[in-house]
Amino acid sequence: MLRDFRTALAACLATFVISSAVYPAVVWAGARLLFPWRAQGSLIERADRTVVGSALVAQAFKSPRYFHPRPSAVDYKADAAGGSNLASTNPQLAELAASQAAGEGATADHPAPVDLVSRSGSGLDPDISVEAARFQVDRIAAARGGGASSIAALIDKHINVSGWILGAPPRVSVLELNLALDAKEADRE
């Protein structure tokens, strides 16, 4: 019995070194060498090197001038992610759906796509469906004073179909789209 425990402790030490020292060190070195930008969290920087956000993580957009991401159960806190965990039978979820649809200006004639009014699992979903982007075109055009058709063209340019062969839906990244919106406006000025 005592011998078992002595071996157990030695085995703990050996397996710890293999799994928690050698392995992460190799993966870290490999990722740093091969994919340095991704390894750091795909951070997008401004010209002055301040960070705008991560290309993979949603951030809050409340202004009518920007495309809105999906609502977040954690208010886009990227250090405390989470979903709503509300059941379909919970009246709270129906209330949230109603206020969210109203907030996005949805009406029976202009219904909101369902992804734009439902909360993602992480609360940090960076993407919206192509329909959800097109749904917002008129509002953005009104707020920015540009033509609706040029904004619609911008959406078409940014549709991400990566993974279609795996059955992944086409989608657009909200941050990418909003950066493009600002860049286009800066060009015009």
Partner: protein, 610 residues
């Protein structure tokens, strides 16, 4: 062209294709011929074994093997408990995470308490030592990087290796060997030759898709609208790889693989969903090769595959249906997207849901609490039967217990002496198998009854009505099945839940390893009789169908009453129609206020535990 239907073919077909060569590889490296031991690649294992003071392999009977396994697990328990306890004094903590005991907790009436709750550490250690990965904390909020890769990830490597080791011993017993092998040798080989290489490949592939791998602290961003955002990151790629491969499932971040840093795009999702089922599938094929009973193994594989496909089919169908809360004129009709990510879509999330609950992995890429009611029933049912590929090594042992029960029942039905692989199944074996099978419904139903009847459970649910009951039932089922997923609305980080599920976790793991070991030890003593006309074949279609019948009748039927009270009642009470709801809202505001409070509580302690 709409190709959404193709995802399940990738997600479930690719692991089958990869499991064939992996099963062959595992047989070669884990069960080498005596003259090849310690030579070639095996020299690496021999070196590690020499370092831990076991230069020569020892012949162990089932008791000695079980004792070595328990000693190792006890050592793991004590050491990781200490490491988690003292995480604020250990290195690799750039974001200065405090002690886990200072998290505080909510009591049964929902009041916040500061101060020590060691139960969360107890729960976490039980959860990771048992290969479950139920999480009552949220990784990015509460754990230092060292705790993530030094405690949690370490256990994510050694616990599947431990399960695989016990499986090897049981197979040797079924082969008629009185020497079940050397636990330490099996452990080190499983770790070095199966878990480690698979994880290395997967981690680098995940890093290529965009999963971060850094030891720097969280990033500070100034958003486009001028707000500030703290972006938690860390050594995620290494962690997620083994989390998926070792049927672990515990996320680096609270919401697990829904988080864009754990699962940034459809490609990472494919790597992860394939990793869910790969090792459990390959171990069934390894069983067939080691025993030279490949037809029998294929029948078992087929039975598991049929159940998995049925499960996946049902969730896909329910999740393509709209969520009833979004039945409104101003919302376009679409699939249930609450708790799901746009980059995966409903089909990929549903496929993952079936795969993760069948394999006792428990990682998620969408939130189960927000599945449509009958969709939520599927992961629960797959965990209740707990034999559908299930955990690495341990899952196969669960299935073996049902095989013994089936052989026994079938033998009784036709009036023959039950035999399995030529060895007589007698009272002792049937008792061992039935105890192993019955512990599972016993702890789930008793635990659920206790918590549903008291404030321990009823005050912690986040959703009203039958769904709240489902949350309690799910938590116990997930713990007993060593799965680790959850209906995460449940406020489960308090002493009552932490202690109760901690105990259930241990009861779900160690009897399920020791009882098959005892059974193998006893079968190994028996003489093998050559197959005759009187032998009931275990490698044909009839046996497969009988096995499914026994699994469903013995395994699933015990849960029928609980399931009716939870998800079935939930699906029948789809909530009032919008007009009726509005009227009800204006009439009674009192209960809705309570619900709102609960909802806020859910939001404040989103300890996304999966």
């Amino acid at each position: 062209m709409d190709l959404t239907w193709i995802h399940p073919i990738w997600a479930l077909g690719l692991p089958v294709a990869l499991a064939v060569p992996l099963g062959l590889w595992m047989t070669r490296v884990l069960d080498p011929a005596p003259d090849r031991e310690g030579r070639g690649l095996d020299a690496a294992a021999a070196l590690v074994l020499r370092l831990i003071g076991r230069p020569r392999s020892t012949a162990m009977n089932w008791l000695e093997y079980g004792r070595a396994m328990l000693a190792f697990n006890l050592a793991l328990f004590v050491i990781t408990f200490a490491l988690l306890w003292g995480q604020n004094h250990l290195p690799f903590n750039p974001d200065q995470k405090g002690s886990l005991t200072a998290l505080g907790y909510k009591d049964s009436v929902g009041e916040q308490h500061d101060g020590a709750d060691t139960a969360v550490i107890f729960n976490t250690v039980c959860s990771f030592v048992t290969n479950t990965n139920l999480q009552h904390y949220a990784g990015e909020q509460h754990l230092s990087y060292f705790s993530q890769f030094g405690s949690v990830m370490w256990l994510q490597f050694v616990t599947p290796a431990c399960g695989l080791a016990v499986m090897l011993a049981v197979i040797r017993g079924l082969r008629g060997q009185r020497n079940l092998g050397d636990f330490w040798q099996d452990l080190i080989r499983s770790l070095l030759f199966v878990m480690l290489p698979l994880a290395l490949v997967s981690a680098l592939l995940l890093a290529a898709t965009g999963v971060p791998m850094t030891f720097e602290g969280s990033a500070q961003a100034t958003t486009l609208e001028g707000g500030s955002q703290t972006i938690a990151r860390g050594p995620v790629a290494a962690f997620v790889a083994i989390k998926q491969l070792g049927t672990n499932g515990g996320g680096f971040f609270g919401p697990n693989s829904t988080h864009p840093f754990e699962n940034p795009n459809p490609w990472s999702n494919l790597i992860e969903v394939v990793s869910l089922t790969l090792a459990p599938m390959a171990s069934v094929l390894m069983f067939g090769r080691m025993l030279r009973e490949r037809r029998h193994a294929r029948v078992l594989f087929g039975v598991m595959m049929v159940m998995l496909l049925m499960g996946a089919g049902i969730v896909i169908a329910t999740e393509l249906q709209p969520n009833s809360a979004f039945h409104r004129p101003d919302v376009a009709v679409g699939a249930n997207m609450e708790g799901k990510e746009v980059r995966f879509g409903p089909v990929a999330t549903a496929t993952w849901t079936a795969a993760t609950s069948a394999t006792s992995n428990g990682s998620v890429n969408g939130m189960f609490d927000s599945l449509n009611p009958l969709g939520g029933l599927v992961p629960m049912a797959l965990m209740m039967i707990n034999v559908d590929f299930s955990g690495v090594g341990s899952g196969f042992l669960n299935m073996l217990m049902f095989v013994i029960a089936t052989v026994f029942i079938a033998g009784l039905m036709v009036g023959r002496t039950p035999e399995y692989l030529g060895r007589k199944i007698e009272a002792r074996e049937v008792k061992l198998a039935m105890v192993a099978i019955l512990i599972h419904p016993l702890v789930i139903t008793c635990g659920t009854a206790l918590f549903a009847a008291t404030a321990w459970g009823s005050s912690t649910v986040a959703n009203p009505g039958p769904h709240g009951f489902s949350e309690i039932l799910y938590e116990f089922t997930s713990s007993a099945a060593n799965n680790g997923s959850g209906f995460e609305g449940l406020s489960d980080n308090n002493p009552a839940w932490n202690t109760a599920t901690g105990v259930v976790l241990l009861l779900g793991r160690f009897p399920a390893l020791l009882l098959p070991l005892a059974l193998a030890g006893s079968l190994a003593q028996k003489k093998q009789a050559p197959a005759s006309l009187g032998t009931l074949p275990t490698d044909n279609f009839t046996f497969g169908m009988t096995l499914i019948g026994v699994v469903l009748l013995v395994g699933a039927l015990s849960f029928m009453p609980a399931v009716v009270m939870g998800p079935v009642a939930d699906s029948l009470s789809k909530g009032p129609a919008p007009a009726a709801r509005a009227a009800a809202e204006s009439r009674v505001s009192e209960p809705l206020v309570q619900v709102s409070k609960k909802y806020q509580r859910t939001l404040t302690d989103v300890s996304g535990d999966n």
